[in-house]
């Protein structure tokens, strides 16, 4: 991991490229995180790749309901030589959930961005094939958003009964 100072150095390098790009840095439990503006994500990722963080381990979607902006996208990068990790995070509103796609520069992001689109409704601009990946194509809604109903069938548990119906004896 870059330590807290190293993280600030990276953030300063990135701020040289764009003043408003990096919103904050977080160093929590020995883990370095860069919080960036959504349009700045590809620049930040390319800069980190040039520094050696050349393996994109994972892309996650997050719903921060009820905070705003609600939707988050996390990119986990790994430096395989230094065994060093860094996280890039961005947040977007549900009304305008646009994030530039990383899947042209990082092919592994292709399916993971499709999954985030499927589950959270984040739209990745310039993604080569932005379709649903897990749910059926005609599915409506984004099921991993926290205001999405859980669905399924109601289940009757015994602890919901006010008095013993007696059927389990």
């Amino acid at each position: 991991m870059p330590d807290a100072t190293g993280l600030e150095l990276i953030a300063n390098d990135l701020r040289d490229q764009d003043d408003d790009g990096v919103l904050a840095t977080v160093f929590f439990r020995e883990k370095a995180m860069l919080i960036v503006n959504a349009p700045f994500v590809p620049t930040a990722l390319e800069h980190l790749r040039a520094m050696g963080y050349s393996f994109m381990a994972s892309v996650h979607g997050v719903d921060y309901f009820p905070e705003e902006p609600r939707l988050g996208v996390h990119y986990e990068l790994l430096d395989m030589h230094a065994v060093d990790r860094i996280t890039v995070k961005t947040r977007v509103h549900t009304e305008d959930p646009h994030v530039p796609s990383a899947s042209i520069a990082w092919p592994t992001a292709n399916h993971q961005e499709r999954e985030i689109y499927d589950m959270f409704g984040v739209i990745f601009d310039d993604h080569p094939d932005l379709r649903r990946i897990l749910m059926p194509d005609d599915y409506e809604g984004y099921p991993q958003r926290r205001d999405f109903p859980v669905g399924g069938e109601p289940v009757l548990f015994t602890h919901n009964e006010t008095k013993s119906p007696g059927w389990w004896h």
Partner: protein, 213 residues
């Protein structure tokens, strides 16, 4: 007992030689012939040679596999021949959770099976969605007729065996108890929808290309 067997052997020999008198022939026929209805005989044969489709959905499939392995040995009851195509199978075991994306596929496999056919919903997920009681899973009853539900998460192989033996008993007594007709579960087989279109494709003599060759 052994003497009895020997006596019957000798009587059979005598009959073949034409040495038996009428009362003895009548007695022999009484002993060696069993009468039944054709329906019962057919159901008996069907119930003892169910061919399940080779079809696993999730973790329950592991238990389904161990049901045919040496310890429980479903071959004792004639269920061991898992067929690799729904056209040859007559039992569909839904062994696992059915997602709403998989449901149309399973329905199609069920429709491709030929009558008579039966279905077992194995485990909590395919019967009542189990622990995956959410937006992604659909219970089997919502899209196809199910004969036997086997509860458990996953059911032990013994439980599945019990379910299959229940199904066997059901087939022997009354194949579908009329519920298939009540729920519109009859006549769903998917045959070739347009034989003329497919004749050339599957190289059947009588298709235009077939005649040319």
């Amino acid at each position: 007992m052994q003497d009895d067997f020997r006596a019957r052997q000798l009587r059979a020999r005598d009959m073949l030689r034409g040495d038996l008198e009428l009362p003895e022939i009548e007695k022999m026929v009484e002993e060696s012939i069993m009468t039944t209805t054709l329906d019962k005989a057919v159901n008996w044969a069907r119930s003892n040679s169910l061919f399940p489709a080779t079809f696993g959905l999730a973790c329950c499939a592991i238990e389904m596999m161990s049901m045919v392995a040496a310890r429980l040995d479903a071959a004792r009851f004639g269920f061991e021949a898992f067929r690799a195509t729904p056209r040859q199978a007559d039992l569909l075991i839904l062994s696992g959770r059915v997602s709403i994306k998989m449901a149309p596929v399973i329905r199609r496999i069920y429709d491709q099976m030929l009558e008579p056919k039966w279905a077992i919903a194995m485990g909590a997920c395919s019967s009542s969605m189990g622990v995956f009681n959410n937006y992604a899973i659909v219970p089997a009853d919502k899209f196809m007729p199910v004969d036997v539900h086997v509860p458990g998460c996953p059911p032990r192989p013994e439980a599945l065996m019990h379910g299959i033996l229940k199904l066997r008993k059901q087939i022997q007594a009354d194949p579908d108890q009329g519920w298939r007709a009540r729920y519109g579960g009859e006549g769903t087989e998917e045959l070739l929808p347009d034989a003329d279109t497919y004749a050339a494709a599957i190289n059947v003599p009588g298709g235009e290309e077939g005649q040319g060759a």
